[in-house]
């Protein structure tokens, strides 16, 4: 499978899971339960792979896991405390913009002009959705 196919497959899967989250948040309130089960089920399905994980993968995965949980739970807490949906919407789109800038400026990723145009449109699309 080509890398581009992985990217588009990921997009489709994220989209379906987003619908699941919307459905959950509309009908249920216990977000922590959602995060717990959401993250646990994939691990359970792949428990046989656990023995193959190297020390380096444990280290990197742990960092990502902490960041993922901290980001998601603080996002939910901000809604709970502030009741300010605008803050939530800013959080969702702007880290993507900042991360993209970091990739281009600090990691010096090279892209064609058309590719850059595509990325700018994608970012604009995300920002427009929040207005």
């Amino acid at each position: 499978m080509k890398p581009i196919a992985h990217m588009f497959l990921s997009l489709i899967l994220f989209f379906v899971s987003a619908l699941g989250f919307i459905l959950y948040s509309r009908n249920f309130t216990n977000i922590l339960l959602f995060i717990f089960l959401e993250t646990l089920v994939g691990v359970l399905f792949n428990y046989r792979h656990l023995s193959k994980i190297t020390k380096l993968e444990w280290k990197y995965g742990a960092v990502l896991g902490v960041l993922f949980f901290a980001a998601f739970s603080s996002l939910m807490s901000s809604i709970q405390y502030g009741k300010n949906i605008f803050s939530t919407l800013i959080i969702i789109s702007f880290p993507t913009v900042i991360a993209t800038l970091i990739f281009l400026v600090f990691l010096k990723e090279k892209l064609t002009k058309r590719m850059l145009l595509g990325i700018v449109l994608a970012l604009l699309s995300l920002i427009l959705l929040q207005i």
Partner: protein, 138 residues
């Protein structure tokens, strides 16, 4: 109080997205990375459930969480696979477009209000996906 959470979440989400790419470049298996990160997030959320005593649940909430969890696991797995070969500045914004697609579809599914910005957002997302697809195939 909410502002602190906003800032914390903003910083963590940015760091998360950048480190996804940085770690994918190393000699690591995308599946292992997904499993470990999900396991850690799962343990942390369990600790918070116990500490805040949030034990309310219903069978339909559990079922929906499990279905969504299975899908999101493979979404991250595929994203890590893509990040291994493609630039992060491409993969992250494109895969984040799922929010736009979900928002547009929620208009039809949940009878949400159609706004001009949502329509423009959808058009931009569509054009972006077409451009990126064509450029990568070249």
């Amino acid at each position: 109080m909410w502002l602190q959470f906003v800032v914390i979440s903003f910083v963590f989400y940015t760091a998360f997205r950048v480190l996804m790419k940085v770690f994918s470049n190393k000699k690591v298996d995308p599946k292992s990375l997904t499993i470990v990160s999900f396991l850690i997030a799962s343990v942390l959320s369990l600790i918070f459930i116990i500490s805040t005593a949030q034990f309310t649940w219903s069978p339909s909430a559990v079922l929906l969480s499990l279905i969504t969890g299975t899908i999101v696991f493979y979404a991250f797995y595929e994203r890590y696979k893509a990040l291994k070969k493609l630039p992060g500045s491409l993969v992250i914004p494109v895969t984040e477009l799922h929010m736009v697609i979900a928002a547009i579809l929620s208009i039809f599914l949940f009878n949400e209000v159609i706004t001009l910005t949502k329509i423009i957002s959808a058009i931009f997302a569509g054009i972006s996906l077409i451009i990126v697809n064509r450029e990568v195939k070249k």
